[in-house]
């Protein structure tokens, strides 16, 4: 057991997989010699060589497309989008080629796409997005989003070992801010939800960085016992865990950092409306970024991203209902 940052946990999982399985290769822009834009693969080239830690041309479609090709002949590629925003350039390969391959012809595509996502640091409209819902809407792609260092490692191990394409949403804002105990060696975290804090009066459902916002916002909130459910996996969505929390708490606030419309939280809200109607003691409340590009200037960005105050206010309102 070691104390690792979220970023170190990701590095650790990658290193362990490269050591354990010669089929694993890491590919992306500047991941080799430079060690990655966020230094996730710092020092990897020295240990594993430039073929397994591959600096690719600046071509996201090619990164995903060639990874698919390598995967169907037996490799386990781990692609890095330098920023999740750039997956738009590789969207077609991921959604049309990778996502539909197994369904159409029974050919599994075991690739992992690491997507450094999220805002909060003036990244502006092209370095702050949370594009996970794009892939939730595309059949055949799994989507996971760790919030803790332990899950960052365990989910990455599980993603790399999964026989399907997996979008691994790693939140940039958590890289060096979140630390935690991480078991040594390889361990796989299941693609299920986790109760970050148990409670009974209201449940806040979140994932990624919003789990921390939710925990802070509901810490000792008017003496209420507020549960925080960390989804961890968006595809598959742990419907049983969500419905269980709702059955116990009967009041729900769902937090997304992503733009509100059709976000992961919208799917969770729909699920609850359909399957937990008779457990509800109030409206299903959502807190998400409004449908605007994530602006650059700090006061503008703070006005858009869901923060502690907004989540707290939503919880208070719902508790009083």
């Amino acid at each position: 057991m070691a104390i690792l940052t979220y970023l170190q946990a990701i590095s650790s999982a990658l290193r362990d997989e490269l050591r354990a399985d010669e089929r694993v290769l890491v590919m992306g822009e500047d991941v080799g010699t430079f060690g990655g834009a966020f230094k996730v693969t710092d020092g990897f080239v020295e240990e594993f060589g430039s073929e397994r830690v591959m600096d690719t041309p600046l071509a996201e479609s090619a990164i995903i497309g060639t990874a698919v090709g390598a995967a169907v002949v037996g490799m386990r590629p781990v692609c890095e989008m330098q920023f999740s925003d750039f997956i738009s350039c590789g969207f077609d390969q991921l959604v049309n080629v990778a996502g539909k391959m197994y369904y159409r012809q029974g050919l599994a595509v075991p690739i992992t796409v690491r997507l450094p996502s999220g805002g909060g640091f003036s990244g502006g409209p092209f370095h702050s997005q949370n594009p996970e819902a794009w892939f939730m809407h595309s059949p055949g792609i799994k989507v996971v989003a760790p919030s803790t260092a332990e899950d960052a490692k365990g989910l990455l191990h599980a993603a790399i070992r999964d026989p399907n394409p997996v979008c691994y949403m790693e939140h940039k804002h958590l890289y060096r801010r979140i630390k935690g105990e991480v078991p040594d060696g390889v361990f796989e975290t299941p693609f299920t939800a986790r109760i970050a804090r148990p409670g009974s009066d209201l449940v806040v459902i979140a994932y990624g960085a919003m789990v921390h916002i939710a925990l802070e916002a509901t810490e000792a909130l008017d003496g209420a016992a507020i549960e925080v459910l960390d989804l961890r996996s968006l595809v598959p969505l742990d419907e049983a865990a969500i419905l269980d929390s709702v059955a116990r708490c009967s009041k729900v606030v769902i937090v997304d950092e992503a733009n509100s419309t059709c976000a992961a939280g919208a799917q969770v809200a729909a699920l609850i409306a359909q399957h937990a109607f008779e457990d509800l003691d109030g409206p299903v409340v959502r807190v998400a970024s409004p449908d605007v590009p994530i602006p650059f200037s700090p006061p503008l960005e703070q006005a858009v991203l869901p923060g502690v105050d907004r989540v707290r206010e939503a919880c208070r309102e719902l508790l009083a209902y």
Partner: protein, 439 residues
């Protein structure tokens, strides 16, 4: 142009009678404000205006009885009404035109017809008997016609109630606007214990429940079920609340003069003064359940009504703050009559936020009423008796005068309030009764 029609006040009601108009042609009226009062064989009620605008026409006079759906009045809405107000044709300020309701109607409606909505049957046909299908905004009767707050339950509350066979009307709500929340119904189950299934308790705010099995004639001293339950309810209140009683003496000269001219009892005046004082002292318009103390925005005033040997019942005047003395009087009379006739609906005995009890007609002068749980106060009105009192004139000269006096008693829950609040509240009632504007 929006039609105001005779509402359907119950499935079987076919007609209604106009009791009073609150407006005259040319008056501006806001949506949901009372436009007239009607009487049907089921209920007397106020009719809220279906839209904001200017009253263009009153089609049915006071005392007339018409069928459900008949157009009672028309309201000019939209630009036409606004333009009319703005072009200086003196809508409400011209008493000569406005004082003759029926005659002024055509003259008023003509300019108002410019609103697009006026095209069609309303403009084409004569006033009464407009086709019911054309009524654009007649509110559903339950929504506001009788002033009762709608009570809705969340899915989980309904499910739990169904599972435990609970009558939700008996569960006090602690949520926003008195909503019954999941913790409320769970607490209710816990309080009721297992007995809830065989013997559902009486309404928490009213010990009364019609007893279909009738009074046992073989009773050799055994209490009737109703009596037993009234007893349990009263006992539980005394065990639950920290009950204190405070009295104040009020000079009823002002009230006596007014009620003589209106031919009313003192009760609606006291109710009106109590409502005004509750507005000034909202701490009294509240419920306390366990540790949850909730102040209520609406004043739902309970009035204890004796049923003779069958005990008593507390029907509730919902949104009583919206009523005048005359309106309160009419409502109290109606509720009392129907209480004795066993015609009250469950809606009419729940949701109270404060109660007045009035056993004073037999000459008693003071009492210590028991608080109607989970409210925090109950006002007792006893007899009005003439007494010699010292009065002080404007110049500060004292004199002895004969005045109609009464002693108002307030029992209050010391868990929720302190003596100073109840004293201030009583002083407020006194002030209003004596013609002042409150404390």
């Amino acid at each position: 142009m929006v039609d105001v029609t005779m509402p359907q006040m119950g499935v079987s009601v076919a007609e209604g009678t106009i009791v009073a108009w609150h407006v005259e042609p040319g008056d501006r009226i806001a949506a949901d404000a009372t436009i007239c009062e009607i009487s049907t064989d089921k209920i007397d009620t106020e009719v809220p205006a279906p839209a904001s605008g200017v009253v263009a026409e009153i089609a049915v006079a006071v005392g007339e009885t018409v069928e459900v759906g008949v157009v009672l009045a028309r309201i000019a809405v939209g630009d036409g009404a606004d333009a009319r107000g703005g072009n200086g044709s003196a809508p409400a300020a011209g008493p000569p035109a406005a004082s003759a309701p029926a005659a002024s109607a055509p003259g008023v409606s003509a300019p108002g017809v410019s609103a697009p909505a006026a095209a069609g049957p309303a403009a084409a046909g004569p006033a009464p008997a407009g086709p019911p299908g054309e009524v654009p905004a007649a509110p559903p009767p339950a929504a506001g016609g009788n002033g009762r707050a709608r009570r809705r339950y969340s899915p989980v509350v309904q499910r739990i109630a169904a599972e435990h066979d609970i009558d939700l009307t008996q569960v006090p709500g602690t949520g926003r606007d008195g909503r019954v929340r999941k913790p409320d119904v769970l607490a209710f189950i816990e309080r009721a214990g297992s007995g809830v299934l065989e013997d559902p308790p009486l309404h928490i705010e009213s010990p009364y429940r019609p007893d279909p099995t009738a009074a046992p004639s073989d009773a050799g001293g055994t209490l009737s079920r109703t009596r037993r339950q009234i007893g349990e309810h009263m006992k539980r209140s005394l065990e639950t609340a920290a009950t204190c009683t405070t009295w104040i003496e009020a000079d009823m000269s002002h009230v006596e003069a007014a009620r003589a001219s209106l031919r009313l009892t003192a009760l609606p005046f006291v109710a009106r003064a109590t409502i005004a004082a509750l507005r000034e002292h909202p701490a009294l318009n509240a419920t306390l359940e366990g540790e949850r103390y909730t102040r209520h925005a609406d004043i739902n005033l309970g009035i204890a009504v004796s049923l003779g040997d069958d005990g008593l019942i507390v029907p509730v005047i919902h949104r009583a703050h919206e009523l005048s003395v005359e309106g309160l009087s009419a409502r109290i009379r109606d509720l009392a009559r129907r209480a004795r006739a066993r015609e009250l609906t469950p809606d009419e005995v729940r949701g109270g936020t404060f109660t007045i009890t009035n056993p004073g007609q037999y000459g008693s002068i003071m009492a210590t009423p028991i608080i109607n749980q989970p409210q925090v106060g109950i006002l007792d009105l006893e007899a009005v008796v003439k007494r010699a009192v010292v009065i002080t004139d404007a110049a500060g000269n004292d004199a002895i005068a004969v005045r109609p006096m009464t002693i108002l008693g307030l029992s209050w829950d010391h868990r929720a309030l302190d003596g100073v609040q109840s004293a201030q509240f009583l002083a407020g009632i006194k002030c209003h009764l004596e013609g002042g504007t409150g404390a």
